[in-house]
């Protein structure tokens, strides 16, 4: 059995859970989905539409709200009871927080950030990015079952998850979790001061990455943005350095945008950046490295020095 661990908050399912269900269905064999935390029943009802053997609602009052310790205790107990062959999870920030500890507690392999599964007979080979997506590695998990696998967001399509002809059976399982053994105390999630700019509505965006090299060079990107009628945005390192405010950051920790035109200047194309902009209609990448992963996604690419190409673009637009 492939056991998918769903992610939900207050009954609202993380979309990536459906992607993980799709991955599990493709891996073959029966699939079960486990849901835990406050709101699990509502999320389980939604997941019952999937073509899976069953949906398991994990009952453990101590894990109503997420904590790393709570999830490790609950899921280690669940794995011992259910004996899955594989445990699949979405590679969300929450999964990053507990899955390595869960695997270590169980003494089992964990393969993270997987983008594809190759199957030959019974053997599964996982494809995962290394070197910030510049290379892919084919990886084999070793040691006894269950192997734990986390899937990169967007690697599988949520709508590829097969739905069943009738609702999947649901089962409630109580697992013992000692609330006193949970060492983290979590406060409610919050957003930093209201975002001043809403880039999700921008029609065109010029986005700068570390290739811009210095803060004073930002002005050529800003000039290009003006000439294109575009908003300025950036990859994380630019905002980390304080060259642009956090609310101009595109990516998994920042904003998600889908403009008509997205121009990436000196951005390598790490997955955490791509998830924030891959829905853009037309993507232009300007990068001096022909192997930069951003070119895998771009509609138009220019390999070259942005300090030569951007001024030429500005001149062209001003003609």
């Amino acid at each position: 059995m492939v056991l998918v661990i769903a992610e939900q908050r207050g009954g609202k399912l993380n979309r990536a859970t459906w992607e993980t269900v799709a991955a599990a269905q493709q891996a073959g064999g029966p699939v079960a989905i486990a849901v835990l935390g406050a709101g699990a029943d509502a999320a389980a009802a939604e997941l019952a539409a999937a073509d899976v053997a069953e949906v398991i609602v994990v009952e453990a009052p101590a894990v109503a709200e997420y904590t790393a310790d709570g999830y490790v205790l609950a899921l280690a107990a669940l794995a011992a009871q259910e004996q899955p062959a594989l445990v699949f999870l979405a590679h969300t920030y929450q999964t990053r927080d507990f899955a390595p500890a869960l695997a270590a507690r169980l003494g089992r392999a964990l393969v993270t950030d997987v983008t594809a599964v190759k199957k030959t007979g019974d053997r599964l080979v996982y494809v995962r990015p290394v070197f910030q997506g510049k290379l892919n590695a084919d990886v084999e998990a070793t040691g006894p079952a269950p192997h734990l696998v986390t899937f990169q967001i967007g690697a599988f399509r949520a709508d590829a998850a097969a739905r069943g002809s009738s609702s999947a059976p649901s089962r409630t399982v109580a697992v013992p979790v000692d609330a006193g053994a949970i060492r983290q105390k979590a406060e409610a999630p919050f957003q930093e001061a209201r975002q001043a700019v809403d880039l999700s509505q921008a029609e065109r965006i010029v986005s700068v990455g570390r290739g811009i090299k210095a803060q004073e060079h930002l002005k050529i990107a800003e000039e290009l943005a003006r000439a294109l009628g575009a908003e300025i945005a950036a990859s994380r390192p630019i905002c980390d350095a304080g060259w642009l405010p956090m609310d101009r950051q595109i990516g998994s920790s920042g904003q998600t945008v889908a403009p008509k035109l997205y121009v990436a200047l000196g951005i390598s194309g790490a997955i955490q950046h791509l998830v924030g902009m891959k829905g853009s209609r037309t993507i232009v990448a300007i990068n001096k490295d022909p192997e930069a992963p951003i070119f895998e996604l771009a509609d138009f690419g220019i390999v070259g020095d942005l300090f030569e190409i951007v001024p030429a673009m500005i001149a062209e637009l001003k003609k």
Binding site: A104, T112, D138, Q255, L317
Partner: protein, 261 residues
Amino acid sequence: MKIAVCIKQVVTREWQLRVNDAKTWIRDQDASFELNEPDAYALEEALRLKEQHTGEVVVVSAGPARAAQVIREALARGADRAIHVEADALAAADAVTVADAIASAIRDERFDLVLTGLQSDDQGFGQVGVVLAEKLGMPHATIIMEVQAAESPSSGSGPAALRVKRELEGGWFQWISLPLPALLTIQSGINQLRYATLKGIMAAKKKEIRKVTPSPSAEPTQRILNVHFPEKAKKTQMIVGSPAEAARDLIKRLREDARVL
């Protein structure tokens, strides 16, 4: 506070990757190396905590002899001493092997706080920190963007607990409290980095680097069969020519083909 910071040496982002003959990893003999980015932020955070609360900052790196480069750099930035878990096999080992090696090297030192980066630029497991916490029996919190350590009024022996800001997706955050000793994985951007001064570089020469040979650890939990360059998912139209020609061609296509201008 006695703080350990786990630092990894990785190839520079600028280095053009070359795959080894067996196609199982890179050929890094002629590569240039640097400190893994979030680890630099972890070190900075440790130095700041030491400035506030006194104590000691010890950097720990597991890797081949060349990792001494990033160890010296960290000492020059202000770390007090270093532990180098040295073995060639650690250059491309799986997360559990690395965490095992570090755990055995630091367990007896009884650190109050262990900091790691959240992810390495080369392997990108996002695992070593959290697995290490589990091996050391410490609570952990990940993707941390702020650390608050209040002196406990009673003990007078430094903070007994932390309140840390964890990054969630899409611009959300969450505060977590946890008792010390603990392990945190640090996110890039948590602070502004300081760089080594000449004085720091000179001082580093006298600092202790303890070398440890890892005892043969448990079986690795995963194995790389081969590495390959990714295939392009989309048909990218590459535009060539001089900068002026390429710019003209690009603007024309954005106007006429893509109709986005």
